[in-house]
């Protein structure tokens, strides 16, 4: 199986590991991530108002490109996934946005939101299956207490993202279980890390991150996993007074459990 793949800008620079481990793990699991030829930055934040058309265009170009191949597009970065998925939903549901975007882009075939945007985790859960994944694990992470840090963008708004229960998600816990480790549920796993506020107001980010880390540590979490480069950054850099925890991209643990981490 070959999936169209949208890496996004951060995965080519600061978050290379997220991308590399994902590709290695995919190989071990028997699928391939084929990078879209000419993808552009998704814009990092979803334009929340209806009259922002220009900021939706780059996402639509990638979505349309995937539609022209086989109609599936796999993402890894939470932000890219969020933006692509929501813009895609606008193209399918919002007549006004659809008409304006198509009028501007003049694609060969008007784009109607037909591409299925899949997060890498959804590929694992829905296309491969965690049970299958568990069978392919060669170095189970037995005894490790891992906390899933979901953050915001994968889960909310649930109606559009259709990813998991936004208040009580389980996909990452099931993933951790499949790798042989012990998932630890803590209260702040779906709370915001502060995101881009780290630029303008570090203390806000520090306040939020310390709540997350403390909540996780109190439940006995030994390491956190995430799918988002910005979350990963905040959790590491803005820990402030809280006890720091090792932060991994989920793909790194995946590669480790599949025995392909060393190859990177």
């Amino acid at each position: 199986m070959v999936y169209n793949y949208y890496p996004g800008c951060t995965l080519s620079t600061k978050a290379k590991q997220l991308d590399l481990y994902a590709k290695k793990a995919a190989e071990a699991l028997g699928f391939e991530l084929a990078e879209l030829k000419e993808w552009q930055c998704c814009g990092a934040v979803y334009p929340l108002v209806q009259d922002e058309i220009g900021t939706r265009l780059s996402s639509v170009r990638s979505l349309a490109a995937a539609a022209a191949i086989d109609g599936k597009l796999v993402t890894l970065c939470s932000a890219c996934h969020h933006v692509l998925k929501r813009v895609n939903s606008d193209m399918a549901e919002n007549k006004e946005i659809n008409a304006k975007v198509n009028a501007y882009l003049e694609l060969d075939k008007p784009y109607q939101g037909e591409t299925q945007v899949l997060h890498y985790l959804e590929v694992l859960r829905d296309e491969i299956g965690f049970e299958e994944l568990a069978k392919k694990v060669v170095k189970p992470l037995t005894g490790r207490k891992i906390g899933a840090y979901y953050g915001c963008l994968l889960l909310r708004p649930a109606g559009v993202m259709q990813f998991d229960d936004p208040e009580n998600p389980s996909i990452l816990e099931d993933f951790i279980k499949a790798l042989g480790a012990e998932p630890v549920v803590y209260d702040y796993r779906n709370e915001c890390c502060g995101g881009y506020i780290a630029l303008k107001d570090k203390s806000s980010a520090q306040n939020m991150v310390s709540k997350i880390l403390t909540s996780a540590a109190n439940k006995g979490v030994e390491a956190l996993i995430t799918a988002c480069p910005l979350c990963s950054y905040n959790l590491q850099v803005n820990a402030a007074a809280a006890q720091p925890l090792p932060i991994f991209y989920f793909t790194e643990l995946l590669a480790e459990a599949l025995g392909v981490k060393e190859e990177v």
Partner: protein
């Protein structure tokens, strides 16, 4: 030539403000057959009816059309009025120019034109109406009440007291319902069990009442006055006759891991169990899923210890068939599931509980003997937060759009009971609005604030987190516009209520209407609140909509009165709008028989007059007592022989022609 009278109602300004009623009357006058047309302020009033009756006599009217509100509202009224003036009641047609016209259109021109079109359709139809005569059917003098909570018990008792037989079918092992789980009741704070148990005993000992517990309705057929229900008596595995209720079996039962349904899962029960001390009947039931004897074949201890030899492992479900004149639905409610509301941490924190769990926790007969303690560590809480509207007034797919109605009052009750017993516990209630209409209700709530010092904060709770050994309630204070983080040892969620899970299944079985929330629909929201639109089906208690105990009891009594009104009749008039077969054209193919849901059509050899010759042919025969008048057969009939009285092919075709 027909002489048709057309009466256009103003309905005060309800119709007249949007429809030019005079113009409607004027414009139909020229239609052939219309002998009289007039408009009147209120056709349903005595004056309006007199106007119609006078016109029938003065003009020798043979047909009547009333342009007014929905026929579902006043068709019966106008038919009766016409009948009093000597006209067959089925020669009256209604043009619905209120609900379907004046109330949904704003432009007077447009609405008037539509009203005229609807009047013309009714005139076209009424020309083809034929006089119809109702048949009669007998009434079985016995009522069925589905549900043995306070609603069902009250309805059954009222019917039984009037001298009629009633059967109560309750799906759990005991009657009593949700009220038996409650500790105290608002606004009087009297003990729930103290007022309920006497009623349970009264019902159980009443000579006119038969109670089927641990039983469910399997099937219902028939119609008003003549229902037939099949009741499945689930195998109790214990003989009701021999058991003395001593309880040794439960005590000795080695399987004690099942969650007690009655205690909301807060304690375990044995596999053979009586749900609660005052249960009626006071006879245990074996929960076969958890019984070692049934699961492994080994054990059998209960049979060995039972001094009465009442244990019957070989018992099987039993089906009882019974005829009833009327059926009352009293299926009650249950709290919604908290699974979709992860932000309240109900799944992970034992000290976040629902209000019904709180009732069990404060009940002297409950799992803690009434001692208010935390489920996590058994310690007495120093502070409790109550959260209102959890899932109520929620238009997202997580919750219920309606107000659950009882929560504001029980929150005040719970808060007050805590303060009364433990003045040192801090109690805070978070609310969106406090809704306390009802006798002595607002006074009750204010007492919690003014006398007991319960802190009421307007604002919703957004998240509950665990911080060490206590909880942190993240809420907002809407009045001051601030965020609050309130430490609490226990949080009680006032969860929305929803109709019992089997309501939908019963609605389908009984063809009783149900709304989008699965509450049973009443025949009219104001004027017929305890009747289902389906004749002979009545509604009692929360299955019709959220209610507290006083309202439930009042409605239960009202439902009983309606049942008595029905049972006191010896005969009922049947709907004369039934199918009829034209023997001349019937080919005897019996396509009609296959689609009839009531088995009302049979085949019969008959001598038929064909072009002057008598011929013996197979003909479809309609049993008018069984036919309910749906008309399925009329469409299935390939020869067009089958027709429906009151909604005949010609009549509907005439309406189509008049409209198009």
């Amino acid at each position: 030539m027909q002489k048709i009278g057309v009466f256009v109602c103003w309905c005060g300004s309800n119709i007249a403000a949007t429809v030019d009623v005079a113009r409607v009357a004027e414009s139909v006058k020229s239609i052939p057959g219309v002998a009289f047309a007039a408009d009147y302020r209120y056709m349903c009033s005595e004056g309006g009816q007199e106007l119609m009756q006078k016109a029938i006599k003065d003009y020798g009217l043979s047909r009547v059309v009333v342009c007014s509100c929905s026929p579902r509202m006043h068709e019966a009224t106008f038919r009766k009025a016409a009948q009093a003036a000597g006209l067959n009641p089925y020669l009256v047609e209604i043009a619905n120019i209120r609900e379907h016209c004046s109330w949904v259109h704003k432009d007077k021109e447009v609405a008037t034109a539509k009203a005229i079109a609807l009047a013309k359709a009714a005139i076209a139809k009424v020309k083809l109406n034929t006089p119809l005569v109702s048949g009669e059917s007998a009434v079985v003098k016995r009522a069925l009440v589905i549900g043995g909570g306070i609603a069902g018990l009250q309805t059954a008792l009222d019917i039984a007291e009037a001298g009629y037989k009633v059967d109560i079918v309750e799906k759990t092992p005991s009657i009593g319902g949700k009220m038996s789980q409650l500790d105290k009741t608002f606004p009087t704070l009297d003990c729930s069990a103290c007022i309920l148990t006497p009623k349970m005993v009264e019902a159980a000992t009443h000579e006119n009442i038969t109670i089927y517990t641990y039983s469910e309705i399997e099937k219902v057929s028939g119609y008003v006055g003549q229902f037939e229900a099949v009741i499945r008596k689930k195998a109790r595995s214990v003989s009701v006759d021999r058991c003395s209720g001593c309880g040794i079996c439960s005590e000795k039962c080695p399987s004690k891991k099942a969650k007690s349904e009655f205690d909301q899962g807060l304690r375990n029960r044995s596999a053979i169990y009586i749900p609660f001390a005052q249960a009626i009947p006071n006879v245990p039931v074996i929960d076969r899923e958890n019984c070692l004897k049934f699961q492994t074949g080994k054990c059998g201890i209960c049979a060995k210890v039972c001094p009465a030899g009442a244990i019957e492992y070989e018992q099987e479900d039993e089906l009882v068939t019974q005829k009833y004149g009327a059926i009352v639905l009293a299926t009650g409610f249950e709290p919604i599931d908290m699974a979709k509301f992860g932000e309240f941490n109900y799944e992970y924190c034992p000290d976040v509980i629902t209000s019904l769990e709180f009732e069990r926790l404060t009940n002297a007969a409950g799992p803690t003997q009434g001692h208010l303690v935390r489920l996590s560590d058994g310690k007495k809480p120093k502070s409790i937060v109550f959260v209102s509207c959890v899932g109520s007034r929620d238009t997202t797919e997580r919750g219920k759009t309606y107000c659950s109605k009882i929560c504001c009052m029980y929150n005040a009750k719970h808060a007050m009971l805590v303060k009364e017993k433990y003045p040192d516990i801090d109690v805070q209630v978070f609310y969106i609005d406090v809704r306390t209409p009802g006798k002595s209700f607002d006074e009750f709530y204010r007492r919690a604030v003014e006398e007991y010092g319960v802190q009421y904060t307007k604002g919703m709770v957004g998240k509950i987190t665990e911080e060490g050994d206590h909880l942190l309630v993240h809420a907002s204070d809407v009045a001051s516009g601030a965020q609050l983080s309130v430490p609490a040892d226990m949080v009680v969620l006032a969860t929305a209520i929803k109709p019992a899970a089997d309501a939908r299944k019963l609605a389908t079985m009984l063809t009783a209407s149900i709304d989008t929330n699965d509450f049973f629909t009443e025949a009219h929201p104001k004027l017929r609140p305890v009747e289902s639109p389906t004749a002979g089906i009545f509604l009692s208690g929360v299955c019709q909509g959220p209610k507290d105990i006083p309202e439930t009891v009042a409605q239960a009594g009202a439902a009983a009165v309606k049942v008595l009104g029905l049972l006191s009749k010896d005969k009922l008039l049947t709907n004369p709008c039934v199918a009829t077969c034209n023997e001349q054209t019937c080919s005897g193919c019996l396509a009609c028989e296959k689609v009839c849901p009531y088995g009302a059509i049979s085949a019969e050899y008959k001598l038929v007059n064909v072009k002057g010759l008598k011929e013996r042919r197979l003909i479809a025969q309609v049993n008018e007592a069984l036919c309910q008048g749906c008309g399925a057969c009329t469409v299935a009939c390939p020869s067009g022989a089958m027709d429906l009285k009151g909604f005949s092919n010609k009549q509907i075709m005439a309406e189509v022609d008049a409209i198009c």
